[in-house]
C-alpha cells in the first residue's frame, strides 16, 4: 500500500490520508479485515507527524471504515461499505472520463483542465450550491 | 561527571606544571647538597628558602593558570549552551571546578616538597619534616588566594586570552603593591616564609603563623563566593 501525502496542496495531510485509505479500500488494495500499519510505523515511513496518522485513523473509525483495537492496531472493518459505493465511484469516474474527453476536444490542455478542477474543488459546498 | 570534566579540562596544564615543579625541586636539591657538603646546615637551609621562592613563583603561575576556564570562557569557545542546559546549578558547576583546582593546587604544593624531602634524604641530608610541612602549609594556605583571584577574574573577564592576561597582570601588580605599599601585609613574604625565617639558622620557627594564613584563606573564600554570585547574575 503506497500512500503519498503532499504538504503543499492546501489540504490537511490527515484528510489526504483518509482519502487515500478510502480509495485503497474501494479498489480492493486493502482487503476487509486487513491490518493497516501502526501509527508510529506509518508516520516514520511517510515522515509526517504521528498526530496526522492518528487523526486520520480516528476520523475513519468515526466514519465506520476502520476499527481501532487497543494494543493491536488499526483494521479495515469487516462489516464494510457495500458494493454499491464501489459502483458509485466507478460511475463517477466514467462520467469524469467523458467530460475530460469533451474538454480535450474543445481544445483545452490537460494542465488547464486540472487547474480548473482544482480551483472549483477549493470552493466549499455552500458557494457551489448558490450558483 | 563534572569532576571528570574538570579533570579533563585541567589535566594537561596540571601535569605540565607538576612535572616542571617536581623536576626543578629534585634538581635544585641535588645540586644544593653537592654545593654545601659535608653538612653546613645553615647554608643548606638558606638554599632551601631560596628554593621555596622559586617554587612559590612557579606555583602561583600554575594555580593562576588552573583557575582559568569556567562558564565565561565556555561562552567564547561556544560550549556554554551545553553546560548551562545541564540540570545542575551554576553554583554547583563553579564549586566542582574550584574543588578540582584546589586539589590540584595542593598536589602542586605537596609533591615538589615531598620530592625535596626524598631527594635530600637519599643524599644523606634529610630536611626536617617540620620544615617541609611548614613550607607546604604556607604555600597552600597563603597562596590559594591567588587561585581564588584567578577564578574571580575568569568569572568577570570574557575572552579566551584576555582573562589569563588580566590574571597574570594582577599577580604582578600585587607583587609591586606589596613591595611598595603594604609591606606588613606582604603576601609574598608570607607565602615564602620570608616573614618568619630565622636569619641565623634559616629555619622556620616552631609556631605556625595561623593568623596570617587564615586571613589569606578568608580573602580567598570571599573571592570565591563573589565569583558564584557574579556567575548567578550573568546572562549567557
Amino acid at each position: 500500500m503506497f500512500f503519498k501525502l503532499n504538504p503543499t496542496t492546501g489540504q490537511p495531510l490527515y484528510l489526504q490520508l483518509m482519502q487515500q485509505i478510502r480509495h485503497a479500500a474501494e479498489t480492493g488494495a486493502l482487503q476487509d479485515g486487513e491490518q493497516l500499519p501502526g501509527i508510529r510505523t506509518l508516520a516514520e515511513e511517510l515522515v509526517v507527524s504521528p498526530n496526522t496518522i492518528a487523526k486520520a485513523y480516528s476520523e475513519l473509525e468515526h466514519d465506520g471504515i476502520l476499527e481501532l483495537r487497543h494494543g493491536s492496531g488499526a483494521f479495515l472493518t469487516v462489516r464494510r461499505r457495500t458494493r454499491s459505493l464501489i459502483d458509485h465511484v466507478q460511475v463517477a469516474r466514467r462520467r469524469l472520463r467523458d467530460l475530460i474527453e469533451r474538454l480535450r476536444e474543445e481544445g483545452l490542455l490537460d494542465e488547464e483542465i486540472r487547474r480548473a478542477f482544482e480551483a472549483e474543488l477549493l470552493y466549499p459546498a455552500e458557494i457551489v450550491g448558490k450558483r | 561527571m563534572l569532576w571528570y570534566k574538570g579533570w579533563l579540562e585541567t589535566r594537561s596544564r596540571f601535569l605540565t606544571c607538576l612535572i616542571v615543579l617536581t623536576a626543578f625541586c629534585g634538581v635544585f636539591v641535588h645540586y644544593a647538597q653537592g654545593f654545601v657538603r659535608p653538612e653546613w646546615s645553615r647554608d643548606f637551609y638558606r638554599l632551601l628558602s631560596i628554593a621555596q621562592e622559586y617554587v612559590v613563583i612557579i606555583w602561583i603561575m600554575s594555580v593562576v593558570l588552573l583557575g582559568m576556564g569556567g562558564l565565561v570562557r565556555e561562552m567564547a569557545t561556544g560550549t556554554s549552551s551545553l553546560t548551562l542546559s545541564l540540570p545542575v546549578s551554576r553554583a554547583h558547576l563553579l564549586s566542582v571546578r574550584v574543588a578540582v583546582g584546589v586539589l590540584e593546587a595542593i598536589t602542586l604544593g605537596v609533591v615538589p616538597w615531598a620530592t625535596i624531602f626524598l631527594v635530600s634524604s637519599a643524599g644523606g641530608m634529610p630536611v626536617q619534616f617540620q620544615q617541609v610541612g611548614f613550607y607546604v602549609l604556607l604555600l597552600v594556605g597563603g597562596g590559594l588566594v591567588y587561585f581564588a583571584m584567578a577564578v574571580l577574574v575568569s568569572s568577570l573577564v570574557e575572552g579566551e586570552y584576555t582573562a589569563p592576561a588580566v590574571a597574570f597582570g594582577l599577580v604582578f601588580l600585587a607583587a609591586i603593591l606589596f613591595d611598595v605599599w603594604l609591606r606588613s601585609f606582604n603576601l609574598w613574604r608570607l607565602v615564602t616564609g620570608d616573614f618568619y625565617i630565622d636569619r641565623n639558622t634559616y629555619l622556620l620557627p616552631r609556631h605556625f603563623p595561623w593568623k596570617g594564613t587564615a586571613a589569606s584563606l578568608v580573602v580567598a573564600a570571599s573571592m570565591l563566593i563573589a565569583s558564584i554570585r557574579i556567575l548567578k547574575e550573568r546572562e549567557f
Binding site: 504538504p7 507527524s49 480551483a119 477549493l122 458557494i127 | 579533563l8 569557545t77 549552551s81 551545553l82
Partner: protein, 297 residues
C-alpha cells in the same frame, strides 16, 4: 493526561540597550505535538529559547516549561532534567572523545536510554575513541543530536537542527523526530528549512522582530490561506476587497492578486458580484505564508 501547555509564556519581553529582542511574547505550545518556530535571523527565536532554559533573564513577563517557572532557578533546573536541548551551534566538548561525551551526558539524565545511544552511534558511524575536535562538522552535528535523541525527555527543544546535515542526514533527523513524537515527546524546534517544517509540524509559530505574528495549527493554515487571482474587464476596485482576512492586494492593470489568511470564499463571492472574468483560487505553501507575514510586518 493533562493538557497543560509544555511551554507557556506571558508577555515575555527581553530588551537590550538599543533593541527589543522579544516583545510581549505569549507563546503556548501544546503537549504531544510537533511545533515549529519560524523566524528570520535575529527575530528573537534563540533569545526566547534561552529565556526558557534560564540562560537569559527576561526583562519582564514570565513563563513556564513543563509547569515549572522559568525565572526560578531551582524550578528551572528541575525542569531541565526532563528537557533535551540542542543549541544552534551543536556544542560539544572538543577535548572529550565520542565515548566520553556519551558517558558524560548520560550521567545527568535518568531518562537516558543506552540501547538507543548504541544504536545511533553505529547508525551514524561515529568512531568511539576519536576526540570531538577531530570529527567532521557533519559528525559533530550528529553527535550533538544524539545526546538528545538517546533520551526520552518530556520536551525536546532544537534550534536549527538540520543545519550541518546533508539530505540523507536531514531525512534521518525528520524520521527520528517523528519517532520521538510517536513516543510521547513534545517537540519544539526552530528551523529555516520550511519544506521540512511543512512535512512534519502539527503547529507553527512565526516570530518577527520579537513579536509572535502567527500561532496556529498547520492544518488550519493550509485550509485558510489562499491566493486568489482575479481578472476583471476593468481596473479592479481595490477597496471593495479590503475585508476581514485579506492580507495583501496586488494590482496589475485589470489583474488583481489577493492574498488572504482566511475568508477566501467571501473574496470570490464579491468578485463574482463585480462581474469578474476569471477566478483562480490556489493554496498557499508555508514558505509564502511566512514571507508574506514577515514582509507585512
Amino acid at each position: 493526561m493533562t493538557n497543560t501547555p509544555v511551554i507557556l509564556t506571558r508577555d515575555l519581553t527581553k530588551s537590550y540597550a538599543s533593541l527589543k529582542a522579544v516583545q510581549g511574547l505569549n507563546l503556548s505550545v501544546e503537549p504531544n505535538c510537533i511545533t515549529a518556530f519560524l523566524g528570520q535571523n535575529g527575530a528573537g527565536k534563540s533569545t526566547t529559547i534561552k529565556m526558557l532554559l534560564g540562560m537569559i533573564r527576561p526583562s519582564s513577563g514570565d513563563g513556564t516549561v513543563l509547569g515549572k517557572r522559568i525565572t526560578d532557578a531551582g524550578e528551572n533546573r528541575e525542569m531541565r532534567r526532563k528537557v533535551a536541548y540542542v543549541a544552534e551551534n551543536k556544542p560539544l566538548y572538543g577535548y572529550m572523545s565520542v565515548e566520553q561525551t556519551v558517558r558524560f551526558a548520560s550521567s545527568f539524565y535518568p531518562d537516558w536510554r543506552t540501547d538507543v545511544a548504541n544504536r545511533l552511534l553505529s547508525q551514524y558511524k561515529l568512531p568511539h575513541r576519536r576526540k570531538v575536535k577531530s570529527l567532521s562538522k557533519g559528525m559533530r552535528t550528529k553527535l550533538a543530536l544524539l545526546l538528545a535523541f538517546a533520551r526520552r525527555p518530556d520536551l525536546l527543544i532544537l534550534d536549527e537542527p538540520s543545519e550541518g546535515l546533508d539530505p540523507v542526514g536531514i531525512e534521518h533527523l525528520l524520521q527520528t523526530l517523528v519517532a520521538q513524537s510517536a513516543e510521547g515527546v513534545s517537540i519544539f524546534f526552530s528551523s529555516h528549512q520550511i519544506a521540512e517544517v511543512e512535512r512534519i509540524a502539527d503547529h507553527v509559530c512565526i516570530l518577527d522582530n520579537g513579536r509572535l505574528l502567527v500561532n496556529a495549527s498547520l492544518d488550519r493554515l493550509r485550509q485558510s490561506y489562499r491566493r486568489i487571482d482575479l481578472v476583471f474587464p476593468f481596473p479592479p476596485p481595490e477597496r471593495e476587497f479590503r475585508i476581514v482576512g485579506v492580507e495583501k492586494i496586488r494590482i496589475n492593470g485589470n489583474e488583481m492578486s489577493v492574498f488572504a489568511s482566511m475568508n477566501s470564499e467571501a473574496v470570490v463571492e464579491r468578485a463574482r458580484n463585480l462581474k469578474v472574468v476569471s477566478v483562480e483560487v490556489a493554496p498557499v505553501g508555508l514558505r509564502d505564508i511566512f514571507l508574506e507575514t514577515v514582509k507585512e510586518n
